[in-house]
Amino acid sequence: MDKVFLSYNNIVSAYGFDSLSAISQIENEVSSLKRTEDERILSDPFYTSRPTDTIVSEAFELLQPTKKYTRLEKLLAISLASTIRQSNIALTNRVGLIISTTKGNIDVLERANPFPEERAYLSELGTQIKSFFQFENDAVVLSNACVSGVLAVAVAKRFIDQGRYDHVFVAGGDLVTKFILSGFNAFQALSKEPCRPYCKTRSGINIGEVAASVLVTNDPNKLTKESVEVLGEASCNDANHISGPSRTGEGLHRSIQLAMAQTKLSASEIDYVSGHGTATQFNDEMEAIAFNRSGLQDTPMNSLKGYFGHTLGASGLLETIIGMHSLHRNTLFTNLGFQELGVSEPLNIIQRTTSEKLSTFLKTASGFGGCNTAALFKKVTANG
């Protein structure tokens, strides 16, 4: 079986409209979360990270659209346009498109929204993006809660392994809406301050908004300096509860074990773990249990939620892309917001951005419905 790589990538976020603008600020330990007052979304002030409407619209106009697009479509299109252009790959029938989103254009259900309600169908979002870029193949829309972004990378690899595609563009995005914030608020899961993953004083999540995209390819001639090989990936359900994380970390532990079993790596050979770390009490505790069961308690790890908040369907993809850059720069990024360990099992939380020789990393995510996904990546060296 051919190797499968992650290659050209883009992050559209409050930091800027390419991956490097985010990476350079993360390296400086600067969060993009801002205290926000927006009563259309939540009556109380909240912390979030969003690119402003004006700069999104300006960037989108440069793509010369011929009709009106929703905010999420604009974000996804800006990100994908960059990744497609960089990769210089013709969009033939060997090229797939996967969209990772939990809620898609959910804002069109708002009465004041000018778009027709049909736009709320996730397949319609896929169709809009497909035709904007004139992909030959239909978009595959994956909507699997908060593991969608990293599962989308795994799905892309599976389709390439199966011979369906040679290249897959994976794009992920979700909006910060009243729909989402009122729901997480009803769960009393929202933090009133910038989130503190794995910290003793953590008080819940922030929701953020980004669009991210990456090329997944079997072509070793289409690699970038931060490219990684996908070594193994797996996704397991907790079979326990639809909204509460497993108390034994069952699904996450199993996902990590199965992903590792596809590689020759042992736990001690994983250089860095990019956790999910939403900063809710139960999620972070569950992760600590799963990582200890998997023998990863000494491996340097972080959650990147302190930089962007939880970006839902984009998060797993966004954090995988940052992991690629982390490896390339041989730099461990600090787990922003962390002060003192607040989970029942030991974890090696990165507390200061440090230089370290890195060649492998594990990305994990967990979500509603009891879903978990783990994926292992290895740096591609200059001579392949």
């Binding site: 259900l109 169908y121 994956l142 389709f159 359900n237």
Partner: protein, 197 residues
């Protein structure tokens, strides 16, 4: 990757009727989907209180998967489901209530993959899950994805199909892909079985 796979069993739910391997196993003259599901629940003596907390999409997926998974000993059975409406039926509920009394019990079902979690809990499956959204039944994607899971040994069997619910209209077609069975796992078979219960 030249493994041959088969359809081991399949089910349909349409127009207030449930079929297992093409044979009708329950029908009810119900006014709405909720009472149809309640009648089916009683008929099959399910004894699973959580069922009544589920949203319509989860009830539909749960009820369609039940005849297929009840006697299925293979626990490494992946769940791969697809539909058009996603969780829009419940999304609209949350959208209308969120201003006054947003409910966690409604909000959690505003994700289509929750139905996979419900099935995993009931049948104790710690297996692969994925939920995809398409404009219509998409046998080609399901076929390739199921084969990928089986070829890579990520799953021993795959329960896949279409579970769509919106405005009381319900359409479920689920099937188990396995190493043995009656029908060949091909696009032709999937199209034929989807059309006719």
């Amino acid at each position: 990757m030249a493994n041959d796979y088969f359809i081991q069993a399949y089910s349909h739910i349409r127009n207030n009727q449930i079929w297992h391997n093409g044979e009708s196993i329950f029908t009810a003259d119900s006014a709405d989907f909720s009472s149809f599901m309640k009648a089916a629940y009683k008929h099959f003596a399910l004894d699973y209180g959580k069922f009544f907390k589920m949203d319509s999409l989860s009830k539909l997926a749960f009820m369609a998967s039940n005849p297929l998974l009840n006697d299925e000993p293979e626990k490494n059975t992946a769940l791969v489901m697809t539909n058009k409406a996603g969780s829009l039926d419940t999304d609209r509920k949350h959208q209308t209530t969120m201003n006054d009394y947003p409910s966690p019990a409604v909000f959690v079902y505003t994700l289509p993959n929750i139905c996979l979690g419900e099935i995993s809990i009931k049948h104790q499956l710690y297996s692969e899950n994925a939920f995809f959204v398409f404009d219509s039944f998409n046998p080609s994607t399901l076929h390739d994805y199921a084969n990928a899971l089986l070829d890579s040994k990520k799953a021993e069997k795959v329960l896949c199909g279409w579970v769509d619910f919106e405005h009381q209209k319900h359409d479920a077609f689920l099937y188990i892909v396995s190493k043995s069975g009656t029908f060949e796992h091909s696009l032709e078979t999937l199209n034929r079985l989807y059309q006719t219960p």
